[in-house]
């Protein structure tokens, strides 16, 4: 028997876990390193250089796609967070009522369907609407992104609400605060971390989407991920590494923020 018999030990598990963490990060690290490669081939190292970041920055297609991604992401994130907050208020802290289960199912529906199916469905539906209305702007992308961001924004908001009891709100009502005032002064400040977490989640989810955007977009409406997919299919250049690295940094920053916001206890 081993000297220190640990009940938590399982043979080989630590080795597998270590392998997993290394394997998860190694490709990302290699990708980032090659973004700073001076050589134009992605297989040899030609010294440190920022020229690929510079060339991406000067590529109008990249800049356009990035701005479009941010535009769609911020509108979709704000809208879906507002709708998700309202829906969360309507579906928590209550005795079961007719339709409650239906609401849960409806809100989570976008999570249950593979993206490709939603993408195809929206392609068919929006192509009809386009003929009917003659409008072909980014409104369709915003609508699609808002819809699939709602369940993600809903998650942290609902979780936060479920941990808030109704005592303070009842006290406010006892002191003759109107329902709106109670919401503004009591519920909203307490719920705020959940709302922020939902907003950030929705933004990241929208920013990352490839499949649904690929099917819904009209010509010239590339977002950053669909632009990158097109480029990768054509062959790889270090410029894609540079764009990926910038994108990664942004994601990591948002996730870090999300992590702290959602862990904050008060």
């Amino acid at each position: 028997m081993a000297k220190n018999f640990s009940i938590k030990h399982q043979p080989g598990f630590t080795a597998i876990a270590a392998t997993c963490f290394i394997v998860l990060y190694l490709p990302i690290i290699v990708l980032v390193i090659y973004a700073f490669n001076a050589a134009s081939s992605t297989s040899e190292w030609g010294g440190f250089s920022l020229k690929w970041f510079q060339s991406a920055w000067q590529n109008t297609q990249v800049v356009d796609a990035t701005l479009r991604s941010f535009q769609i992401g911020s509108i979709a994130a704000v809208l879906s967070t507002i709708f998700a907050t309202m829906a969360a208020l309507a579906t928590t802290r209550t005795a079961p009522y007719p339709g409650l289960t239906f609401k849960y199912a409806a809100i989570n529906q976008p999570l249950m369907v593979p993206e490709i199916v939603t993408g195809v469905a929206l392609l068919i539906f929006f192509s009809r609407v386009k003929i009917f209305t003659g409008y072909s702007g980014i409104g369709y992308l915003v609508a699609a992104h808002t819809a699939f961001c709602i369940p993600f924004a809903y998650l942290p908001i609902r979780a936060r609400l479920e941990n808030m009891d109704l005592t303070l709100e009842r006290a406010a009502a006892d002191l003759y605060a109107t329902p709106w005032k109670t919401f503004r002064r009591i519920t909203l400040p307490l719920l705020w971390p959940g709302i922020l977490a939902g907003l950030m989640l929705a933004f990241v989810i929208s920013l990352d989407d490839v499949v649904i955007t690929e099917f819904v977009k009209s010509g010239g409406q590339d977002t950053l991920p669909t632009y990158m997919l097109g480029q990768i299919r054509r062959g790889i250049t270090p410029e894609i590494n540079a764009i990926s690295t910038a994108f990664l940094l942004l994601s990591v920053a948002i996730v870090t923020l999300f992590f702290f916001v959602s862990r904050k206890r008060d």
Partner: protein, 306 residues
């Protein structure tokens, strides 16, 4: 005069009405831009293809027949559509193998994370969450750079003299498999970790006191207790793997199609929207079956432990 009971009932009715009004915007957006269009796909799968894409409004079961069968253009006889069957089987096979591979790697990883001290646990969780929220396309692209012929795996093996020519991994089923296992691994680890974190290690201790071996403890105590997490993780990996689009497009190189690429083809060069619709509904049916199996299984294990 209204009795107190009537007043309470009216208040309750008003409350339910307000709750419906509050959830209306979310439900409406999801119905218009997610759920509703799925019904249109179902309708389209029973129509006739138009000459330049889209459909003619004429009922036809041809699209559904074409999912698995091929009609001979000369004598109208039906035979198995080998290409479609191959793609269906490949997609299911790759998704199942991906699920098993992520489980084999993810289970020990979740166990490792859950057995750390409270303080470091958050750090490990953070490390697994970062790839989870990182763009899937970027992670697939990262895998592409590792496994291609000029990538570091082949370069190192060549330099060490283990191989004399690069191993062709890219644009094979293996590449899709590696890519999917890589991008979906966090989806397996997170739910297993969530179950594992609640594991009561006094039960494990009791097992050892009764002379159980490490493997017996793992199989008879730990695994049954975290089974809900294992099932949730498997579902979370299997569903997106079956409908995967980005990974096969980037790593499969167009030749090794999966279901999503076949569907995309019908809406692009194939110009057969009804067939694309029928294939989409077929994918949905497979997903629904998997979800039902999950719900039934989760219900059963709930009864046993409760």
């Amino acid at each position: 005069m209204a009795t107190a009971e009537e007043v309470a009932k009216a208040a309750e009715r008003r409350d339910v009405r307000d709750r419906w009004l509050l959830s209306a915007p979310a439900l409406l957006v999801i119905f218009l831009a997610a759920t509703g269009p799925l019904l249109i796909v179902l309708v389209y799968s029973f129509l006739t293809p138009g000459s330049y894409g889209d459909v003619k409004w004429q009922f036809s079961p041809e699209a559904w027949i074409a999912v698995f069968l091929e009609r001979d253009i000369f004598d109208d006889t039906l035979s198995i559509a080998a290409a479609h069957v191959t793609i269906f089987l490949r997609s299911i096979k790759l998704s199942v193998v991906t699920t098993i591979a992520t489980l084999a790697l993810g289970f020990p990883t979740a166990y490792f994370m859950a057995t750390r001290s409270e303080k470091t646990r958050d750090l490990w969780l953070f490390l697994i969450t970062i790839p989870f929220w990182t763009n899937l396309l970027i992670r697939t692209f990262a895998v592409l750079q590792i496994i291609r012929n000029e990538g570091i795996i082949n370069t190192i093996l060549l330099k060490l003299g283990i191989i004399s020519a690069p191993i062709q991994i890219l644009y094979t089923d293996t590449a899709i498999l590696i890519g999917m296992a890589y991008v979906y691994l966090p989806l397996m680890v997170l739910p297993i970790y969530a179950s594992m974190e609640k594991l009561d290690f006094r039960l494990v201790e009791a097992g050892y006191d009764l002379y159980a071996t490490r493997f017996q403890v793992l199989r008879r105590i730990i695994f049954p207790l975290v089974k809900p997490g294992v099932i949730a993780g498997s579902i979370l990996v299997f569903i997106p793997a079956l409908g995967a689009y980005v990974t096969p497009s980037v790593l499969g190189g167009g030749k090794n199609m999966m279901l999503s690429n076949l569907i995309e083809l019908q809406f692009g060069q194939g110009r057969n929207w009804p067939l694309g619709s029928a294939l989409s509904i077929a994918v949905m049916i497979i997903v629904m079956v998997a979800l039902l199996a999950y719900v039934r299984n989760a219900g059963k294990s709930g009864v046993r432990h409760g």
